[in-house]
């Protein structure tokens, strides 16, 4: 039992010195008139990593916080925590079973890819309209519902997954476009006072509306779509001893250790495809370039003949569509309810804040980090009942820490 306190002590130590570092470093840097924009996070990291041994020299020499310092300190913090965890819980699967860890990590990355897609939609909306859509989770939910109902209908049931995905994309795109034209366009035209707050509340209203509309139409029973595709059966290097790859229709097993369910794998692959499609759209088509131009400099873009209102509508609809597609692929993984959008939206908020609001690579990296944290958090935290209850909190802890320590996120523009 006493062993377990090692981890708790390590955690307290790290948090305590991190807090000290984040509180005092900016003051010391500003007194010496140095750039303080990185001092909060830098101080927190150095404090957490090295405690007083790190902070005192830091405060004396006040070096510039380079990415190298960030990285080194982060690795040390992670190292301390992992070591303490391993000492405290030697029997935990995460410590004793390398295969389990590999499996959790792979699954974390796989689910992170799907999260990224949804967060990309949100970050796209933010970079063009400058608002966060609080209805993002409902687009995700609607996308999943559309796929479920198409797959369950006699008309589209045999049409195949690509048609269902297309259906989800069209429905969420249209909802997004209509809502943008009716409720957000007046904002751009300057008809609304305090547009930021209006945007928060009106998208919040849309979220409420869509959630109960779907509940009214579809009922509140949990549903789940069938598997989109089966794996072909592959056993490598040979059927007797398939230690490299072994697939069944519903599962993929790598190196005899890592196991990925078919549905997750397929969802992640579709997400990657869509991601490339999005990149192609943004960087290789005129409309996509127009979108990027608007996000860079609204005025210049409109002088150059791009209609910013059209771009707003397009961005909002496209963002909603990405969330919808994300839900459409995940409805084969999770059971679906009208309320599934809420935690999904919360997760997207975490991802874009962590990655940096409006940053596309940030949304991608943030999605994978959040996927990893959730997978490891759910797999490693000792008390399973408690671990499950805390799952929604992991992301929120990331969110609050990011906002307090580095509000611009990983890839946000420095202010």
């Amino acid at each position: 039992m006493a062993n377990q306190q090692i981890f708790l002590l390590a955690l307290l130590w790290v948090v305590f010195w991190g807090a000290i570092g984040s509180l005092f470093t900016p003051r010391i840097y500003s007194r010496k008139d140095l750039d303080i924009s990185r001092a909060t996070l830098g101080g927190a990291l150095v404090g957490a990593a090295l405690g007083p041994i790190g902070l005192i020299p830091l405060w004396i020499y006040t070096p510039r916080f380079t990415n190298r310092i960030y990285a080194a300190a982060s690795i040390i913090v992670l190292g301390i925590l992992i070591l303490a965890f391993a000492r405290a819980y030697p029997d935990n699967l995460c410590v004793s079973d390398g295969g389990f860890v590999a499996s959790q990590v792979t699954n974390g990355i796989v689910i992170g890819l799907i999260y990224s897609l949804m967060a990309l939609g949100l970050t796209l909306i933010y970079s063009i309209l400058g608002i966060v859509s609080f209805a993002h989770g409902e687009f995700y939910m609607v996308g999943g519902m559309v796929v479920y109902f198409m797959s369950a209908s006699t008309l589209f049931g045999r049409a195949g997954a690509w048609v269902w995905l297309l259906g989800a994309a069209v429905v969420t795109f249209v909802i997004g476009a209509i809502f943008e034209i009716l409720f957000l366009r007046p904002m751009g035209e300057g008809k609304i006072e305090r547009p930021k707050e209006y945007a928060i509340l009106v998208t919040f209203g849309l979220s409420f509306f869509l959630q109960y509309l779907v509940q009214g139409l579809a009922g509140a029973n949990p549903v789940k779509a069938p598997r989109f595709f089966d794996f072909p059966v592959i056993e490598l290097p040979n059927a007797e001893d398939p230690y490299l790859i072994k697939t069944t229709a519903g599962n993929l097993r790598l190196f005899d250790a890592v196991s990925i369910p078919n549905t997750r794998f397929v969802s992640a692959m579709i997400s990657v495809l869509l991601l490339f499609a999005l990149l192609f759209f943004l960087y290789r088509t005129w409309t996509g370039r127009g979108l990027r131009a608007v996000s860079e400099d609204r005025q210049a873009a409109s002088v150059a003949g791009i209609n910013p209102y059209r771009m707003n509508t397009l961005a909002f609809a496209l963002g909603g569509m990405l969330a919808g597609l994300s839900g459409a692929t995940l409805v084969q993984v999770f059971t679906w309810l009208p309320q599934v959008g809420i935690p999904a939206a919360a997760r997207s908020f975490v991802i874009i804040v962590l990655g940096g609001m409006g940053s596309l690579p940030g949304a991608f990296v943030g999605g994978i980090i959040v996927g990893l944290v959730e997978a490891l958090g759910a797999g490693c935290v000792p008390d399973p009942a408690r671990a499950a209850a805390y799952i929604p909190a992991y992301g929120m802890i990331i969110l609050t820490l990011t906002l307090l320590l580095k509000p611009t996120g990983l890839f946000g523009r420095e202010l």
């Binding site: 609304i192 305090r194 509340l201 409420f208 919360a346 929604p392 909190a393 802890i397 969110l399 609050t400």
Partner: protein, 413 residues
């Protein structure tokens, strides 16, 4: 003219308050309507205090229900784990307390009924005649309000640098973490099954020569009404005082306010703390009235309701927000009955919320001051309007061609 407006400003609310005080004469017989009324006051407190925070101070916090929950849970934990005994128990953690003992029960035996609690152990050894006292819930109210205020202070200080969207995200994050913690720490909070809270008057009470039992609705009606009236009084004092003036100035322009001598940090944190305490007080009373508190009060729907009530009533008017809450609560309740048209059954418990969402969006888009607040303005500001028109006419008559009228002025923004 001055007289009439003062009359309205004081007389109208006073008349309304009086009506609410004597309302049980008509509706007291129906526990259902009384229950609705109590719930309506509860939401009115939350909506009005949120309107101070969001509408006046411009801090769109989604953590309001968290403060409510903190208050309620603080009171519930106090009621569950704190006892006062005349003799030391020797088995529990305890501290001397004015010649008696303040006992802190351990969670064992409270969440798992199979085990015995330390107090039960002590009971067997305590001398005859020694008493175990459940301390008054009114101290719990105080405790809850203080806890809510402390968290309000903390959150207010943490979010000083965050604006609009970031503030909303941060407060949603806080709210979700709180919900996760309450759900997860089953040993202490009993998780989803919730903590029981004693009724407001466990032994009943005698009012106006009539004795009421613990489950009667009339005493809680008056308690919640009293809290509502007190909070409305405090709120109306706040908005008409310098605090109200400054927080609106800060909402409009933080830098300009500071340049004019306003201590921005102090007033931002202050308004967070005040509104958190109000929400906490409402939470404690509602918890005692309902009898149980669960983490579900923190689901986003609850916060949505409060926000929608304040917005539809009128975000920038505490009275409108409160009236909006009452009307919407009764409105939603009236729309509860499902009906059947031909083969289709309309499940109104869901569709009324659809309509609600739609009304919320339309109000935001087309009635930015809400639906109730313009009505109040029309009654209250009629004199001001007349005075303004007179001044305008005078200005025009004096033929000062320069003084552009307000209408034209607005166009060059």
């Amino acid at each position: 003219m001055m007289k009439r407006s003062t009359l309205l400003r004081i007389g109208l609310p006073a008349a309304l308050a009086f009506l609410l005080l004597i309302a049980p004469l008509w509706i007291g017989g129906s526990p259902y309507i009384m229950h609705l009324a109590i719930t309506a006051f509860y939401y009115a407190i939350l909506a009005a205090s949120w309107s101070l925070l969001a509408g006046y101070a411009g801090q769109f916090s989604f953590a309001h229900m968290s403060f409510m929950a903190i208050g309620a849970y603080a009171a519930a934990l106090y009621g569950t784990y704190i006892r006062i005994t005349t003799v030391a128990t020797e088995t529990c953690r305890e501290i001397p307390f004015f010649g008696r003992w303040l006992v802190i029960l351990d969670p064992i035996g409270i969440s798992q009924s199979s085990q015995t609690n330390c107090l039960d152990l002590a009971r067997q050894t305590m001398p005859a005649g020694s008493m175990i006292i459940q301390p008054s819930i009114w101290w719990g109210l105080l405790f809850g309000v203080v806890a809510g205020g402390l968290f309000g202070l903390l959150i207010g200080a943490l979010v000083l640098r965050l604006r609009s969207t970031y503030l909303a995200l941060f407060t949603i994050g806080f709210s979700e973490i709180l919900r996760a913690v309450i759900s997860a720490e089953i040993d202490i909070t009993q998780g989803q099954s919730g903590l029981e809270m004693a009724p407001l008057f466990p032994n009943g009470i005698t009012l106006f020569g009539h004795s009421y039992s613990a489950s009667d609705k009339i005493p809680p009606y008056y308690v919640m009404l009293a809290l509502f009236l007190v909070i409305m009084l405090i709120l109306s004092w706040v908005v008409s005082s310098r605090i109200g003036l400054f927080i609106r100035a800060i909402r409009e322009d933080q830098e300009a306010s500071a340049a004019l001598g306003v201590h921005v940090v102090r007033y931002k944190v202050l308004v967070f703390t005040i509104t958190a305490m109000m929400a906490a007080a409402a939470g404690v009373i509602q918890g005692h009235y309902i009898g149980i508190i669960t983490p579900n009060i923190l689901i986003i729907l609850q916060m949505s309701l409060v926000i929608a009530m304040a917005v539809i009533g009128g975000l920038e008017n505490i009275y409108a927000a409160a009236i909006g809450a009452v009307i919407l609560l009764f409105g939603l309740e009236l729309l509860r009955n499902s009906f059947t048209i031909g083969p289709v059954t309309i499940d109104m418990t869901t569709w009324r919320l659809v309509a609600f969402g739609l009304v919320l969006m339309i109000t935001l888009r087309f009635f930015r001051n809400g639906l109730i607040s313009p009505l109040i303005d029309r009654v209250m500001r009629r004199n001001v309007a007349r005075e303004t028109v007179a001044l305008r006419n005078a200005a025009t008559a004096a033929a000062t061609p320069t003084a552009t009228t307000a209408g034209e002025g607005g166009s060059d923004e």
